[in-house]
C-alpha cells in the first residue's frame, strides 16, 4: 500500500537515523511510505491564539499536498503518516482547527488562493505507531527475525505524542501503544514513572540547565527501573535525552550514560536489517557497544 509520508525538517537533518530506519522498517512490513514531492515545515508549533490564521498555513498546505498526491494516484488514501511527534501534533491539531471553525477555514483558503487546488479538510493525519496498531501487532511480530531478547527497553512518550486528548495516539494517563510494539519485537518492556514527562523541549536552545535537570530525572528513573536503553518517537526528545547527556554528566557527576534510540531503529534491528538501515551508528551516545554486549548486533 502506498501511504503519503511527511518526514519533517528534523528527520532530514539531525535525525536522519529516524528517517532511514523508518523507511526500512515500514518497507519490511509492506508499507510503502511515499515522501511527498513538495512539502514545507510543519509549522513547528500549533498556533494557540484563536485569531492566528498565519500559523495554520504551513501545516494545512502540507495536507493540501497530500490531497493532491491522492488525487493524482501517487498515494492510495487521503492519509499522511508522520514520525516526529511535533510534526504529527501540529499537522493534526491544525487540521482539527480548520474543520472546527468555518470562519477560520475560509480565511485560510483565501490566504492560499494562489494554490491550484482548495484543501477540503479531509486528510487524516496518522502517526506510524497508529498505522502499525491498525494493521495489527501480529503483523509486526510475524516479521521479526531477530527478537530483541533480553533487551530492557524503557518507552519514552514525552508530551506531544499523547496530548491533548483527541490528538494523542493513546490514553495520556495509561498509554500502551509503545509497549505493545516493543513486546511484538521481543523486547522486555521497562515501565517507569517519567515516561510521559516533558523533556524540556525548546528550552534546550536557551536554558540548557533546565533540560539537564529534566533529562537527569527522566533517565535516572528509567535506569532505576532497570532499563538498558530508552526508546523515543520524537527527535527533540532524542536530542534532549541523548546529546544533552554531556551537560547532564557535568551537572550530575553520578549520572551514567544510557543509549537513546528511535522505535523504528529497534524495529529495523528486530527485522534483521543491516546497519545501513538501522542507522544505529548515528545516535549519541552510541548504542552499539550495549547491543553487541547483548548479542543483538
Amino acid at each position: 500500500m502506498n501511504i503519503a509520508y511527511y518526514p519533517g525538517c528534523t528527520l532530514k537533518t539531525t535525525a536522519k537515523e529516524f528517517d532511514i530506519s523508518t523507511k526500512a522498517a515500514a518497507k519490511a512490513l509492506g508499507i510503502n511510505l511515499v515522501e511527498l514531492s513538495r512539502w514545507n515545515c510543519c509549522g513547528t508549533v500549533h498556533a494557540l491564539a484563536k485569531d492566528d490564521v498565519m500559523h495554520h498555513l504551513a501545516p494545512l498546505r502540507n495536507l493540501l499536498r497530500v490531497e493532491e498526491a491522492q488525487q493524482s494516484g501517487i498515494v492510495d488514501e487521503k492519509k499522511v503518516v508522520a514520525l516526529c511527534a511535533m510534526c504529527y501534533n501540529t499537522l493534526k491539531r491544525s487540521n482539527q482547527a480548520f474543520n472546527a471553525d468555518a470562519d477560520k477555514a475560509g480565511k485560510v483558503r483565501e490566504s492560499m488562493n494562489n494554490e491550484a487546488n482548495v484543501y477540503s479538510g479531509q486528510v487524516e493525519v496518522e502517526h506510524l505507531l497508529e498505522t502499525l496498531r491498525t494493521q495489527g501487532w501480529d503483523k509486526v511480530q510475524a516479521r521479526v527475525k531477530k527478537p530483541l531478547k533480553g533487551l530492557k527497553v524503557a518507552p519514552y512518550y514525552g508530551c506531544l505524542l499523547l496530548r491533548p486528548r483527541g490528538i494523542g495516539v493513546d490514553n495520556a494517563d495509561n498509554p500502551r501503544i509503545f509497549e505493545d510494539l516493543l513486546v511484538s519485537l521481543g523486547a522486555e518492556v521497562v515501565d517507569f514513572g517519567y515516561k510521559q514527562k516533558c523533556c524540556g523541549s525548546y528550552n534546550t536552545v536557551h536554558m540548557v540547565d533546565v533540560v539537564a535537570d529534566l533529562s537527569n530525572r527522566i533517565l535516572s528513573q528509567a535506569q532505576a527501573a532497570g532499563a538498558d536503553v530508552v526508546a523515543t518517537a520524537c527527535p527533540l526528545c532524542e536530542y534532549n535525552l541523548g546529546n544533552r547527556q554531556i551537560e547532564v554528566t557535568k551537572k550530575y557527576p553520578k549520572f551514567y550514560s544510557i543509549p537513546i534510540v528511535y522505535f523504528t531503529q529497534l524495529m529495523a534491528l528486530a527485522f534483521g536489517l543491516g546497519e545501513d538501515e538501522t542507522a544505529l551508528g548515528m545516535n549519541k551516545p552510541d548504542p552499539r557497544p550495549l547491543l553487541r554486549e547483548k548479542g543483538l548486533i
Binding site: 532530514k12 513538495r38 500559523h55 498555513l57 504551513a58
Partner: protein, 228 residues
Amino acid sequence: MTENSNRMVTIYVMGKKHTVPADLTIMKAMEYAGHQFKRGAGCRGGFCGACATIYRKKGSYKLQGALACQKMVEDGMYIAQIPFSPAEKKSYNLDDLKPDASTFLEQYPEIARCLACNTCTKACPQDLQVMDIVQAALRGDITTTAKLSFDCLSCGLCAVRCPAEIVPYNIGQLARRMYSKYIVGPTEHVEQRVKEVEDGKFDEELNKLKAIDKPSLKKLYDTRDMEA
C-alpha cells in the same frame, strides 16, 4: 505597425496618471510618459533583474510583481518601481562552509521564521517556487534549493514582500554556490578554459583591444555578434 498600435491606456506611475500606448512594456511606457531611468533599468531583456516593479490592476486587491522590461501595461494599472532592496548579504569564504542545513541557518538564521505563507512565490516575476526554495534550504537539501532557484535574477521582490524578512534570493545564491563546489565539483570545460586563460591564449586579442582608439572600439561594439 499592428492594428493595436493606436490604442491608448491609462496607467498610474507612483500615483500620477499617464495615457500611454497599449503595446508598450511598463519600462517603455514610463519612458514614453517622460521618466528617465538612471537606476532600475539594466539589460532590458528580462535577464538582469534590475527593473523590479510592483503593480496593482484596476479592481483587484492583489499586489503583483513584475520586471518592467517584460510586463506589458494594462488599463488602470498602478505602478511603482523597486529598483533596490536593502538586504543583508553575508560575505563568506566558500572553502570554509559545510554543505548542510547548518550553514544556511548560520548565515541566514531568519529562514527559520518562514511561515510557509507563500507570499514570496506570489511576488516572483520569474514564476519560481520561492517558498519551496527557502523550505528546501531549511532542511539542508542543497540540490533542490539550487535547482529550484536556478532562474532567479535577484530582483528582490520576494525579499520586500516576506513577512519573516527572509531574503530568498541570497539563500538560492548560497545554495547554488555550495552545489557547484561540493556537489557537482569542478567541471572539465571550466578547468580547461581557466588553463587556456592562464596559458595566455587570449592575451593577444585583449592587448589589441586595449590599444585601440575610442571611435574604433565603439564601432566594434556596435557591430559585435549578438545572441538573438
